[in-house]
Symmetry: C2
Subunit: 586 residues, 2 copies
Amino acid sequence: MSGGGAAMESSLLCAKQLLLCCLFLFLWALAAVAEAKTVHEQWDISYQFTHSDCVRKLAVTINGGTPGPTIRAVQGDTVVVTVKNLLMTENVAIHWHGIRQLGTPWADGTEGVTQCPILPGDTFEYRFVVDRPGTYMYHAHYGMQRSAGLNGMIVVAAAPGSADAEPFAYDGGEHEVLLNDWWHKSTYEQAAGLAAVPIVWVGEPQSLLINGRGRYNCSAMASDAAAACNATHPECAPQVFAVVPGRTYRFRIASVTSLSALNFEIEGHEMTVVETDGHYVKPFVVKNLNVYSGETYSVLIKADQDPNRNYWLASNVVSRKPGTPTGTAVLSYYGGRSSPRAPPPTAPPAGPAWNDSAYRINQSLATVAHPEHAHPPPPRADRTILLLNSQNKIDGRIKWAINNVSFTLPHTPYLVALKHGLLGAFDQRPPPETYNHTGYDVYGVQANPNATTSDGLYRLAFGSVVDVVLQNANMLAPNNSETHPWHLHGHDFWTLGFGVGRFDPAVHPATYNLRDPVMKNTVAVHPFGWTALRFRADNPGVWAFHCHIEAHFFMGMGVAFEEGIERVGDLPEEIRRCVSTKGGGH
Amino acid sequence: MSGGGAAMESSLLCAKQLLLCCLFLFLWALAAVAEAKTVHEQWDISYQFTHSDCVRKLAVTINGGTPGPTIRAVQGDTVVVTVKNLLMTENVAIHWHGIRQLGTPWADGTEGVTQCPILPGDTFEYRFVVDRPGTYMYHAHYGMQRSAGLNGMIVVAAAPGSADAEPFAYDGGEHEVLLNDWWHKSTYEQAAGLAAVPIVWVGEPQSLLINGRGRYNCSAMASDAAAACNATHPECAPQVFAVVPGRTYRFRIASVTSLSALNFEIEGHEMTVVETDGHYVKPFVVKNLNVYSGETYSVLIKADQDPNRNYWLASNVVSRKPGTPTGTAVLSYYGGRSSPRAPPPTAPPAGPAWNDSAYRINQSLATVAHPEHAHPPPPRADRTILLLNSQNKIDGRIKWAINNVSFTLPHTPYLVALKHGLLGAFDQRPPPETYNHTGYDVYGVQANPNATTSDGLYRLAFGSVVDVVLQNANMLAPNNSETHPWHLHGHDFWTLGFGVGRFDPAVHPATYNLRDPVMKNTVAVHPFGWTALRFRADNPGVWAFHCHIEAHFFMGMGVAFEEGIERVGDLPEEIRRCVSTKGGGH
């Protein structure tokens, strides 16, 4: 009896537990289907001395740190970021990279395009919906403030039960990896050098950072400068990523580099690529991953190696001749015999040959849409724009130009100028639709590299399908062509094709991948090569499209697109502060 | 006959010459009394690498240089300076120091007080009348941009025949001497340090500049830093002042130092002080002259020394323990046997003992109005404001405070807020009229140094006579009190008295000099001492009054006065760009 009683008790307990369990599941489901939430962030932007690579440097920080906090939200949430500018004399603007800003084009944070800058002492509210799950980033979009420290990640989870739920599983959890490059010189000096005659190029970064942490070799510094270098500063202790043996982890990777194309590797662990720029890709396995500035990836790794030692996470410069040591972090197994902070017993991976373009193009070609999540592109374009990327000279200054036009931002933001009909605010002549491509030698130094400057923009028919082919070419120096990661605001585009050499409009469109092209917001244009992309101009607003290398955009490597301006709602007063009520001056 | 004819011819010729002479004199007089002219200046503000003290440094420049061009005008002229901000992310505002801005309070250039800052890409027109002859200066009044390079001189000549003509003669001409101090660290780093906890003090300057030129000892630099030091760079070649033997010269001297009180000397040449801050003084002779930041002087020197050698112009730090070598330039005689650029054969003058306060107070007391140009002060004040200058702590941060209130600038400029009735734009409580002075020990460290922060301001009855007594005291460290040069915008004041120790309102006013006090716009408050001044609140507008040491103003050492706001005309739209149309937020 007492035995039966005990059994009944036990069974009751079990029922109770089941009930509790059901209740818990019910509440969880309720929460999951509940109305989308609002995610609030309160940010103070200020100068702070930081030690990101152990060397003391004045950085532009968010709430005292760089990188800033990761914004975490669920698909459909509204994100509200209240930005208070506590800089002394400097304005700011922050871009939410990869968020399309459907219905909120004024919240894109692109100074000169979608808003006036935020003045010192001012508070500005960015409010937008994150409508798609995925890995994104944010960063300043004003001067070179991104490189000065104003950057971070955005992680949007799929809403439970959403059709956008991940087509892959991982039982270990997630890790975030934000890649960056870092200079000891201030960005003011870098920008002044870029504008000088002759140009003072920014040069290779002193360090590569992983989650804002790098290690400069203090002992290599001259005695007086070394005082500012502290190898044991906690801010530059390498990030440790802990894993449980046997589990699978999702690593979300984003690059906010100012200049560098990077190759990322987790020593001894193959990576399965499953997402890029918020879109699921047909999984493919790599030993290491090329990540260009402005791109994001998710990879899965299985913690299936010897748990008794640590492993390097390594970031190496590719596409430019490296002048910077490998950026590192540490992968450490829970329960292993190695201390989490112990350096791995091996040398950090050196990455692939920096100048192996073919290796990198192969990755671009391998990145296609996940079969269950393919968004087939429209079969043809209404308009094709051919954009030659070339290095040029204007008034003796080295610039980048698109179809021989070096881009400058207007003082009055396009969005305000177009919405309010301020025709004097920018050059009303549209930039060229193409370049003289017949017989253009993309491998040669051009005889006459002189270009002009303009803040004119492309106006797109609302809803039309636009093809853009980005053509890379030789720079001013012979036998030199770089990788340019182009980023489109306000849209995702289909990556239709990559090629080496001169794009031929009569030949190459036939080779486009119209079956399963992946959608992205940032794509590489490889050395001497071309990249073709397609998008639908269906997001009312004005959108920048530019090389994501900060110095290149500063030197004119960009364009702007307008579409459906007449459908844009009333602009908030806060974005118009720099605009004269007398009408925009040119 | 022929003789008589020749005589007549000669006499006719003489008459003709006389006529021509008369005509010339008439035309000259006509020109002199002709309508005042407009002096136009077109300025581009940009970052440039400069070598002011031979060390490469990024400076904020005017038309590519620092200091900027001297503005030359004649009394009564209208000066129009069109400022184009070509900085990348940073705003600017420029103050015309010593110009009272009668009728144009919006042109005073004081960010937060009289205008919103000028945004990158914006063009702003400063337009004002220079109504009095004299030596003045201009400089940025935003953040620490003055120290970053944005400064220069204004020289206003007396209108011919004016009652303000100089009561002294000089047959050699004029020379201008702009004194400054110079740091290798950026002003962004300096400001971030001042705001940090614990404070990182700016430290003593690396160099003292005369007309933007100094000489840092390159060989003392560490090897990697030395690459930025070029001892033969033309920008840091010392200025040579050439003189003709036997002639008398006017040297116009101004100090825009960020921190340093200076003593200026021309080796072997006595100086007769004849003007300060645009007012003629009763001439007195000095071997060397103390010049505080924000002050100007004219001195006469006679070129009566051995013309076959050169002489040093020397600038030495006083009042703070010097950590900076003497700033130098060269005086060279025309026709002498010495090369103009040859260093003088002697060591540069070292100046008086840095801590000889009595020596400096004596100069303050010796500086009285020229008998023919004395403006007698009103016999008594309608209101007396006692301002204790003390070093305090707020939230662990070292600050300066006035009557225990550390001054902050409002985001909406006072002028706009008051004219448009935006009461939420700043603290409506007026700051204290006095401090608990009975028994206050100005020589002791205060037990409770905690202060508060406010952007409240003093409102003055229009046309009233106001006395301000600035009381200096001990700092947070024992046995320490510094010199504070206070500058009043929009007015000249009478300098009624200087004393050492605690000011007693029952005793010291009887000692005021009401007979021939000189009028100035900047005056020193000596260590542990007090300075009494009087002005008439008859210039409609809002006016800053503050310590001219850039770091001290940044740390809260200032106040603001409003008077006759209802008499201020319509404000230009250009000064209001930072003001929300929704009303000023606090």
